[in-house]
């Protein structure tokens, strides 16, 4: 079992839909959680960063962490065609000496 599992998709939704993107992990040493967005032929860019269980909201984006279930989610409300991209989760360990472990990314397509 990989340390971080993420369904590659593609996930295709109509404009305006609520999107749910998920990652599961196996190592309870992961203490902080990130979501990156990667447009085609671009580098990943950080969207959300959270340390704790619960929800963190930023505009149309909500990151949710459930450490007891080892499950993290990114919700996108009122999805737009411009949200079409690959979304990668990245999980890091406490201590500052570790490189985050990336999921393989979920490809999202929002069609008009």
């Amino acid at each position: 079992q990989k340390e971080v599992e993420q369904d590659p998709g593609p996930l295709s939704v109509p404009e305006g839909a609520i999107v749910s993107l998920n990652c599961t992990y196996s190592n309870s040493a992961f203490q902080y959680f990130m979501w990156y967005r990667q447009y085609s032929r671009k580098g990943p860019e950080l969207l959300m960063y959270t340390y704790s269980s619960g929800n963190k909201e930023d505009g149309r984006f909500t990151a949710q962490v459930d450490k007891s279930s080892k499950y993290i989610s990114l919700f996108i409300r009122d999805s737009q065609p411009s949200d079409s991209a690959t979304y990668l989760c990245a999980l890091g360990r406490a201590g500052g000496s570790y490189i985050p472990t990336f999921g393989r990314g979920t490809s999202l397509i929002v069609h008009p």
Binding site: L46, P100, G105
Partner: protein
């Protein structure tokens, strides 16, 4: 202002050649990274440098040699290129090890 820049953006070369990719960050970060992203979008860490010192060297053929002349630059030299080296190579930086990373635009390497 470009935070993390890479040159060249595209690189097409013949098998057996030697090539270099350059990376520069103007964020004042201490840590820099090289990642390889294959055709399935999986982002795999190759090297990490902290303050010009090699910290992490994942299982990468020794044909790949990173060099950090100062903490704002991390270059990647590849000897005797092989077909399997074709991928997108991303440079990234973070304030310190374990912090969120900022990625460059990528270098798309094609080996013929």
């Amino acid at each position: 202002d470009t935070a993390v820049s890479q040159t060249p953006k595209y690189l097409v070369t013949q098998m057996g050649n030697d090539k270099s990719i350059k990376c520069e960050q103007n964020l004042g970060h201490d840590t820099m990274y090289w990642y390889k992203q294959d055709s399935k979008k999986f982002l795999k860490i190759m090297f990490s440098y902290n303050n010009k010192e090699l910290i992490i060297n994942e299982t990468v053929p020794n044909r790949f040699s990173p060099k950090s002349p100062d903490k704002a630059h991390l270059n990647l030299h590849i000897n005797s290129l092989e077909l399997g080296d074709s991928a997108v190579y991303f440079c990234a930086s973070s304030l310190q090890m374990g912090n969120e990373q900022f990625f460059g635009p990528g270098t798309r390497l094609t080996v013929l």
